[in-house]
């Protein structure tokens, strides 16, 4: 593991960039596009975060202090859409862009121009989503989408222009995701280095491959559902209106047929990168590669057949309740395989605890809370109490923040030296980690108890018995939110590593790192693998 031939060195680096903004508008280079995705994601993470900090501030005490319910309802839904579609998904796509060509020995993504379009659809979509806030300030319309991110009909049929803006935004975001997914699939199928069979494919790429297939299968369903919503709103159709022979619950079926796989769409790229990080910092090969790949596939398949567990209280027939309960429980099995493999990868290794490793381990523990509480949520009877309460809010933030966002942070710290050519500031990284885990638990652990005590989600004001836990949660959220500035600062510092006197990173930035991407220089040359690596001969 110690000696490796140095990678072919940059020959015509920086060969033909147009200058200034045109470089970014027209770039087809997977690394530039990856960086743009990641930057966009980081910005939107702060946008979505700011919205929810306003919400948490309102919820600090009972009574309405800062905002009226109308505005509150807009903030929660846009927070969620921004976090999911504009922060977490683009971050994962940024990883795909940067890493997949490096990891499979390709010069670039297979369809570079599509890649550029995929990214540039995002900013207009984000603007569409949030523009109604601004329009309302000028007296046009009554603000942004106010239905929560789930947009359930008929509430969304009733809503104002914010709903229409959100519908268009979702269409654009969806096209962007599909373009990105197509690119990932064809790149992995067609541009692997000679000798890299599918069962030698780095597991990160496997995770993304399943994500891409899930996106292709489910985004059109979401797009269809919101198109129907649009026609119900403006063109007199009655897909979701009982008076016209439609059914409001049809919307929930369609939404969650997309919505449940979406959770795995967000998490599979993270599950893909975890084993690389754990193996690196345990200085030991990853455990159970095949088992993990098969688990990914199993989870992908199961994810599209469990959707109705999101509306157990809607009054489904008993056989449907039982089916969706047991199929949901079944997901715990492949998930357990992943946990087993993660821990077994560390077992008997020689661990060290740099920031990416801390985030990875924090991820495992807290994602464990998400998975275990998810298992009890599958129980139809108990779910009658948990559903639409703060218990669920806590559960899915353990999944999406501790699982999704902290997973992305793991990846960012892990690959930052590769991308920038400098080692980030380790002290700041650790500070960021500890502030994040502690304040995260301070924010969301009390929400489990709030849910059990009976506090519904999506309410701007609450009964007095919920006061203390809400106050704690708000304090936690403020620390959590502001701690993320350290993250941004650390990235910025690293990106300008030379000016900040940081140590340059070697090609193999981490002692225990293995895989093709570490054979290249840090940062990698302009056309990542100009000479294809050849894996056909078994290693020395």
């Amino acid at each position: 593991m110690s000696h490796a031939t140095t990678a072919p060195h940059e020959t015509h680096h920086d060969a033909h960039y147009p200058g200034g903004i045109m470089r970014w508008l027209t770039t087809t280079n997977h690394k530039d596009i990856g960086s743009m995705y990641l930057t966009f994601a980081l910005i939107m993470f702060f946008v979505g975060g700011a919205m929810i900090l306003a919400v948490r501030a309102e919820l600090f005490q009972p009574g309405l202090q800062l905002m009226q319910p109308e505005f509150f309802n807009q903030l929660i839904g846009i927070h969620a859409l921004v976090m999911i579609f504009a922060a977490l998904m683009p971050a994962a796509t940024g990883f795909a862009n940067w890493q997949i060509p490096l990891m499979i020995g390709a010069p670039d993504m297979a369809l570079p121009r599509i890649n550029n379009w995929g990214f540039w659809l995002l900013p207009p979509a984000a603007i569409l989503l949030t523009l109604p806030f601004l329009l309302a300030v000028f007296g046009i319309g009554d603000g942004a989408l106010n239905t929560g991110w789930t947009m359930y009909a008929p509430l969304s049929v009733q809503g104002g222009i914010g709903v229409d803006f959100a519908i268009f935004s979702i269409h654009i975001l969806g096209i962007s995701s599909i373009l990105g997914s197509i690119n990932v699939i064809v790149t992995i199928f067609n541009l692997r280095a000679p000798g890299m069979t599918m069962m030698k494919l780095p597991i990160f790429c496997w995770g993304w491959l399943i994500t891409a297939f899930l996106l292709i299968a489910t985004i059109p369903v979401l797009a269809g559902a919101v198109t129907m919503l649009l026609t119900d709103r403006h063109f007199g159709t009655h897909f979701f209106n009982a008076a016209g022979g439609g059914d409001p619950i049809l919307f929930q079926h369609l939404f969650w047929f997309f919505g449940h796989p979406e959770v795995y769409i967000l998490l599979l790229p993270v599950w893909g990168l975890m084993p690389h990080v754990l193996a690196t910092f345990s200085r030991k090969p990853m455990y159970g590669y095949k088992a993990q790949v098969y688990s990914f596939i199993a989870i992908g398949l199961l994810s599209v057949v469990v959707w109705a567990h999101h509306f157990f209280t809607a009054g489904l027939p008993v056989p449907a309740l039982l089916y969706f309960m047991y199929s949901t429980m079944a997901i715990s099995l492949p998930l357990a395989v992943l946990f087993f493999c993660w821990i077994a990868t560390m077992w008997k290794g020689a661990m060290s605890f740099e920031t990416p490793m801390l985030f990875a381990q924090g991820f495992i523990i807290m994602f464990g809370v998400a998975g275990l509480t998810g298992l009890v949520l599958a129980d139809v009877a108990a779910d009658a109490q948990y559903h639409h309460s703060y218990f669920v809010i806590a559960h899915f933030h353990y999944a999406l923040f501790a699982g999704g966002i902290m997973g992305v942070m793991t990846g960012v710290y892990y690959w930052l030296p590769k991308w920038t050519g400098y080692m980030y500031d380790e002290k700041l990284g650790k500070l960021h980690f500890w502030l994040t885990v502690i304040s995260f638990n301070l924010t969301f652990m009390p929400q489990f108890f709030l849910g059990l005590a009976g506090m519904p989600r999506r309410i701007p004001d609450y009964a007095l018995q919920f006061t203390e836990f809400n106050a704690i949660s708000t304090v936690g959220a403020m620390i959590l939110g502001f701690s993320q500035l350290i993250f941004a600062w650390n990235i910025w510092k690293c990106a300008r590593g030379h000016a900040n006197g940081l140590a340059p990173a070697e090609g193999r930035a981490w002692e225990g790192a293995t895989g093709l991407e570490w054979e290249l220089s840090s940062p990698p040359p302009h056309h990542s693998w100009e000479v294809q690596p050849d894996l056909r001969q078994p290693g020395a």
């Binding site: 009733q158 090969p285 209280t313 946990f339 008997k348 109490q385 108890f449 059990l452």
Partner: protein, 398 residues
């Protein structure tokens, strides 16, 4: 690097134990922690009791899994670290029979927990929960509407609306908050104890969810469809809950308050309600004075209309239009023949406007209330149209 390791060695166990402590707290029985905000509130129906038991059992199981799995991980994090000179192993999968057992046993245990330990009680609970019809003693029909609940007792014909009664000034922090802040209503729904009550749910506008935590019942009210659930309340008392499905602006202000009383008391209450309702119905035939209508109208307006159109009638445009100076309100009342004019003030109030939060109030208000509130809107809130409409005229329009 040295400092780092010390840092990790000291903080990590701390964090870990704080963590499992918190998780354990999830499972402690209510009584152990003084007040019950750590767990479900005390159950008062068989379903709620089952649910609490299932919940406690599951929490114990998952805490067990959590502690075992992460104890193993923590052990590894202490022992298998580079700083103590541990040499990394090379294995990439189970080798030999023993390791296969190690890998497969946890999997089998989980399979057992999922589908036997958790799966079987869950099965029975679902069947019980969904059995709304067997031996039902009575029916209660609940209709959700923005942002109040209507309760109807089909056997006796009693029907009324239940609104939140917390004063707006308490919400705006201009007044001290009462004990049942946000969880109090003008008309409580009364149910007899120890009777199986079959509950039918529907809605007139968007989806609402009826939830009383102490009953262990949460069920959606869906416009155009009927859904059902049931309760058998075992102890007299007042039980509070609220709407659990985002249903627009005042979703947070849509409480449910149920008063459970012994059977005789319940029967007396139903009789009283019936008498009240009959008196109100008689009111439609008498001629009301303008002042009577205005006084009654103010009452109705404040309970039914002011959430959207605001107490001063200025509304919150564009979603909730102003009534003060409104063209519709100041338009003609009825056609010369006493017929309804399309899109007039009376039409709006009676039939609502599709696709908006403005509902058809003829479904929920009686003739007197409708006549009173229409008269009030035309002659108050900055309007002074001068005319009035009699309950009898409304009755003729039905």
């Amino acid at each position: 690097m040295k400092t780092t390791h010390r840092f990790v060695r000291h903080r990590l166990p701390l964090a870990l134990s704080a963590f499992s402590a918190a998780l354990t707290a999830l499972t402690l029985p209510a009584s152990a922690l003084a007040d019950y905000s750590w767990n479900f509130p005390p159950p008062v129906t068989p379903i709620a009791r089952d649910t609490l038991n299932i919940h406690n059992e599951f929490m114990l199981i998952i805490t067990g899994i959590f502690v075992v799995v992460f104890a193993i991980m923590a052990y590894s994090m202490f022992k298998h670290r580079k700083s103590v000179g541990h040499q990394p192993a090379k294995f990439t999968g189970p080798m030999g029979r023993l390791q296969w057992i190690w890998a497969l046993v946890p999997f089998a245990i989980l399979l057992f927990i999922d589908f036997v330990v958790m799966g079987i009680p869950a099965f029975h609970a679902v069947i019980e929960m969904e059995d709304t019809k067997t031996k039902a003693d009575m029916v209660l029909k609940i209709t959700g509407m923005q942002w109040k609940w209507q309760y109807e007792y089909p056997e006796s014909g009693v029907k009324f609306i239940s609104n939140m009664s917390t004063p707006r000034d308490q919400i705006a922090n201009k007044e001290a908050k009462g004990e049942n802040y946000l969880l109090e209503v003008d008309n409580e729904v009364v149910l007899p104890v120890d009777k199986k009550v079959r509950i039918l749910l529907t809605s007139t506008d968007v989806i609402h969810t009826w939830w009383v935590p102490q009953f262990g019942v949460k069920r959606d009210a869906i416009p155009g469809f009927l859904r059902e659930t049931w309760v058998r309340i075992e102890e007299p008392g007042v039980y509070r809950g609220q709407c659990a499905e985002l249903c627009g602006k005042d979703h947070g202000f849509m409480p449910v308050v149920v008063r459970a009383v012994p059977e005789p008391e319940y029967a007396a209450w139903i009789e009283k309600k019936k008498a009240e309702q009959e008196a109100a119905a008689a009111g439609s035939d008498k001629t009301w004075s303008k002042d009577e209508l205005l006084a009654k109208g103010k009452e109705v307006y404040e309970a039914q209309c002011s959430a959207c159109h605001q107490p001063d009638g200025k509304g919150i445009p564009p979603a909730f239009p102003a009534l003060s100076g409104s063209k519709i309100v100041l338009g003609p009342l009825l056609s010369p023949e006493g017929k309804l004019i399309r899109d007039s003030h009376v039409d709006r109030v009676l039939n609502g406007k599709e696709g908006t939060a403005m509902q058809a109030f003829k479904a929920t208000l009686n003739d007197v209330e409708l006549a009173a509130v229409i008269t009030y809107e035309r002659n108050a809130l900055g309007n002074s149209k001068g005319d009035l409409i009699q309950p009898a005229q409304i009755k003729a329009l039905r």
